[in-house]
Amino acid sequence: MNVDERRAHAISSWVRRILRACKQQLICTWFEHKAKRRPVGLQLAKDLTGLFYKPFAAFHRTSCLRFGKMQSMLKQRSGVRAAQPARRAVQVRAVAAPVKAATSKSPIVTPETAKDLYYDMVLGREFEEMCAQMYYRGKMFGFVHLYSGQEAVSSGVIRQLRQDDYVVSTYRDHVHALSKGVSAREVMAELFGKKTGCCRGQGGSMHMFSAKAGVLGGYAFIGEGIPVGLGAAFQSKYRRDVLGDEKADSVTCSFFGDGTCNVGQFYESLNMAALYKLPHIFVVENNLWAIGMSHLRATASTAGDQDPHIYKKGPAFGMPGVLVDGMDVLKVHQVAKEAIERARRGEGPTLIEAETYRFRGHSLADPDELRSKEEKAKWLARDPIPQLKKYMIDNGLASEADIKALEDKVAEVVEDCVKFADESPKPERGQLLENVFADPRGFGIAEDGRYRYQMPGFSSGTAVVS
């Protein structure tokens, strides 16, 4: 059969199917009418409409597939996506507890908050650009993954956290550490591998830790950090429920990407966070690319959709899933605020999918050949920093002079941190063997070398074991 014959056959089989379904529906409606005394005409009209619409849509989809129109349909869809300037945040109501919808108009924030967000985003951007420069000059080495373009997510979520809240991230963690409060000097020195770094040069770009600021890493294995973040949230709940600390309401945010959403640990964590109602927020920074693997190629579409939607996996596990425009810091800020407050109240976890984009490659060693120039240009046009600047000026939250002052301050801080890192000493050789164990001798041996259990007074009398 050629294309026309096939088409005719398909249409006629479709017509036959519809007629058969109508006949079946007529019979059912008739019986319902008889059994429940419903008005036949109206019921029939409703049933038949439903009957017509679904197969038609299905037919359109399957016929395109069958006739090899898949490519053009995909292009059409991507064209439609490209044409849309900005996606609105869509709300998904979960069985658990609803989160208020993020409105399409950017919400109002105070001038202080707006300035803080702007400063943090510009710091993140300038810091990462400086990292690129330093890498190409040979001051930084190994794997360096830059965050340029995604600042709205980090600033929008983390700037609202307290010092006793926790953040867990992947290898793209410089800006998370900066937003959480680790000083730029310490981060840059750590990247240079110097003794004055936040981890004394032992962690590096992918392993930023700070006990003071509540940054629990920095993990190279994607998906590994999420259960660790859950653990910190578990600790907060345990302190409240078991240790009786009424004020224990610290929240943990785990940041990870679209690639992580196919890792088993992600699903294990979703289940347990909802099961134990942990104060934990899953923040997916969906930048559409996992190194060179497009999200659309790697992830199956959620049922009934054309594209894979990560936020829809939240309700499947019992928590609200929210999609937000990750290039608009104020929208991220509002969604995160609700999720954080929900968690603090003890209502459990939230899954936030922020649609964002990284302007640079996966790492500084990535030639970044697979992403099209058009795609990059489209997302560059949605840069979060000029967006916020425009918003602040238009709404009177800050003047041009204020903004310039913030930008100058950032330039100063970045220059200073490079100078500091450059001039800092490298770690001594002796540092190599330090910090393998917190107690190297092993418990049971006291400081003076004697066995603890042989020391007088160590144990008093015999115990009763019930």
Binding site: H207, F221, L230, F234, Q235, E434, V436, F437, D439, G444
Partner: protein, 353 residues
């Protein structure tokens, strides 16, 4: 009120001389299962940051009944049943340890911990180093290790050598009830991640325990081996179930005039090199006995260490008695052939004695 007074008085040692409890210095027996159970019980009572999590630890009373009674005593907040998500719940335990709690994470067997090995090694073991001392991980990973009876290839692996090669982990392997109690308490009180390798066959075996072992603060030092039996002809060094086999082999060999010294390693990492060296200086011959596979096993490490540090003391090569280099077969006779038996140890000793 009177019982309360009596209790307080007893605690302060006022009435012990009078003998309120009537406890003579007799030695009682305790199974390894009860030893672990009582150790966990006492540590949970002592520090309320300690909690236990794992599969079937709560309502099922423990897959091997090690955590029997703990749920009833401490409640579901401190004895948590988890879904079958090793990587997930191990990660939760590790993260909560980073944040200040002291979890005891049970694996139903150490084979299942392979699902969570990423969290054990990359998060728990390495984080203190990566964070340059800022964030430590006071966690205990425990569960039965090595072959049981007829549980076939995927349930019978010995993981001692894998975990003992990782810097940042302490690896303990108790043999008897005294080891179980003392090492478990030491592991829970230790500020570092501890891999605690138990043995399913030993759970039901009873060993004598002194009142000192029953003390609620009885803690054994980590990193110290125990000389179970003194001897002068050959040193047999092993850990866990194989210590029992070595002791039996030593008994039989004693009848033939060969006097074996049996060392129970207790701690695979840090390895107690001093005790091994002292023993080799006495006997000049050493045999390592383990259940695991030969290549890169614990015996390999002992051989290397003995060769490096005691080359001139050795009168014979260091022999290794290990499990066969096969995945564990199911058939009972093949399984027996795949594991070291007492005769294998005797044969090895006679070949160099």
């Amino acid at each position: 009120m009177l019982p309360a007074l009596a209790r307080t008085a007893r605690h302060h040692g006022l009435f012990t001389k009078v003998g309120v409890r009537g406890f003579a210095s007799q030695v009682s027996e305790m199974t390894v299962r009860d030893a672990l159970n009582s150790a966990l019980d006492e540590e949970l009572a002592r520090d309320d940051k300690v909690y236990v999590l794992g599969e079937e630890v709560g309502e099922y009373q423990g897959a091997y009944k090690i955590t029997r009674g703990l749920l009833q005593k401490y409640g579901p907040d401190r004895v948590k049943d988890t879904p079958i998500t090793e990587a997930g719940f191990t990660g939760i335990a590790v993260g909560s340890a980073f944040a200040g709690l002291r979890p005891v994470c049970e694996f139903m067997t150490w084979n299942f911990a392979m699902q969570a090995i990423d969290q054990i090694i990359n998060s728990a073991a390495k984080t203190l180093y990566m964070s340059a001392g800022q964030i430590n991980c006071p966690i205990v990973f425990r569960g039965p290790n090595g072959a049981a009876a007829g549980v076939a290839a995927q349930h019978s692996q010995c993981f001692a050598s894998w975990y003992s090669s990782v810097p940042g982990l302490k690896v303990l392997a108790p043999y008897d009830s005294e080891d179980a109690r003392g090492l478990m308490k030491a592991a829970i009180r230790d500020p570092d991640p501890v891999v605690f390798l138990e043995n399913e066959i030993l759970y039901g075996q009873a060993f004598p325990v002194t009142p000192q072992v029953l003390d609620k603060d009885f803690v054994l030092p980590i990193g110290k081996a125990k000389v179970m039996r003194e001897g002068k002809h050959v040193t047999l060094v092993s850990f866990s179930k194989m210590v029992g086999y070595c002791l039996k082999a030593a008994e039989q060999l004693a009848k033939e005039g060969i006097d074996c010294e049996v060392i129970n390693l207790r701690s695979i990492k840090p390895l107690d090199r001093d005790t091994l060296l002292a023993s080799v200086k006495k006997t000049h011959k050493i045999i390592s006995v383990e259940e695991g596979w030969p290549q890169c096993g614990v015996g390999s490490e002992i051989s290397a260490v003995m060769m490096e540090l005691a080359f001139d003391e050795l009168d014979a090569p260091v022999l290794r008695v290990t499990g066969a280099e096969v995945p564990m077969p199911y058939a009972a006779n093949l399984e027996a052939a795949a594991l070291p038996q007492i005769d294998d140890i005797i044969k090895a000793v006679k070949s160099i004695a």
